[in-house]
Assembly symmetry: C2
Homo-oligomer: 237 residues x 2
Amino acid sequence: MFLTISPDAGGAPLYRVAKRALLQAIEAGQCPLASAFGISIGTLRHAVDELVAEHILVRRQGRGTFVATHNADRFLFQFFHVERSDGRREPPVVEVLGFERTRLDEEAAAALRLRSGEAAIEINNRLSLQGRPIVHDRLLLPSALFKGLTEKRLRERPSTIYHLYQTEFAITVVRAEERLRACAADRAAARILGVAPGAPVLQVRRTALTFNDKPVEFRVSTLNSAQHDYVNLVSRP
Amino acid sequence: MFLTISPDAGGAPLYRVAKRALLQAIEAGQCPLASAFGISIGTLRHAVDELVAEHILVRRQGRGTFVATHNADRFLFQFFHVERSDGRREPPVVEVLGFERTRLDEEAAAALRLRSGEAAIEINNRLSLQGRPIVHDRLLLPSALFKGLTEKRLRERPSTIYHLYQTEFAITVVRAEERLRACAADRAAARILGVAPGAPVLQVRRTALTFNDKPVEFRVSTLNSAQHDYVNLVSRP
DNA sequence: CCCAATTTGTTCGTATGTATA
DNA sequence: TTATACATACGAACAAATTGG
């Protein structure tokens, strides 16, 4: 793939123009980043540096620069924030409880910047740690972005859900906004998590974003925080 | 202040050695970063780049590079994660409820990497948003690090608490670990926040760290999340 | 096993523009 | 207006890791 960078586009510095071009190339499809543009290597490095800092690209010495893949490691360190209260981390065991076609409610539509009532896919998962159910996830995906997603493909995915988005639907989740609150477990959550109805549980509303801050997934996670915490490392290097 | 950087120290790249030297210079006391070390400008820039990315330094074009100060803005965007559910942010109004000398309990001692029973200062604050009490903070500070801190100095501080640490005790908070869980409001929290005892509230345990990951403060925040959320922007650029 | 090609990692340098005091 | 310091853009050279022959 070959691109040329115009020296200036709207007052933005050249390395940012290069960054945007890279993002568009990445969006269009995975491509090794060998091709030098019409700019200096140092300037290109600056652009790539920023994308690496944002975990969108990864560099491997001697191999090349690649679009970061959503493997289990990345999921764990970047997007999965549940940890045992004693500080140990482990990957969750995910169990698909439900897969159905539905329509967006008001809240999900607002988060996804779509109209209420649009076609969507609802997925319900249960996540277990140390063999015990800890999290209930309710995901809402715009049908328009996930054409051809079936329960079978979801169940048979070899890795994380975000890896499925990336490989099967060319959607790379690069950022998320999570909003947390405490509430009382309703009957459904109590049943799924095995807690008493009314017990305090942590609710996490996540809007997952791809390039250009486009929302692609809204999920509500309900967490039994009796033995586990939601962990946020503020300003980690 | 003049420092020289040895070309190699334990296999670390030069710009990381420079970064450590900068951190030590910063720890020792605020110093404008005009003096070039014995290294290339580009390498020094690389070191400073990383510290800027970690919000430890700030660069202002035409003025210089400075240690980031804990003003209200920085507090709001970096360390205060409570937001109205409609997405609006505002600085909290802080009210000192209590200031007393105490001893570290097991949990605080573990977080601060000190021995249980060590002398400490306990501060209780109430934070209000839109004139209504939303958060109760219980802070534990090792007395050894905050010699000379009095209730009067705390009450009369002109800015944030972290600004007080920084200016009066030469302690700059650069990172934090926050662990969240949902629990039922106890009698004290219910009274302070004006909620029913047993109502679900969000508990945030924060360990604040200075350079070299040294813990300097442990706090438990109890948040009434009926109208407010704890917000985490995952991988913001 | 060794060698060459490729790619990133690190270090060094120059030049010009821009914002601030 | 001048001096300072950061922002941007360019380029060269070598080291280190990986891959393929």
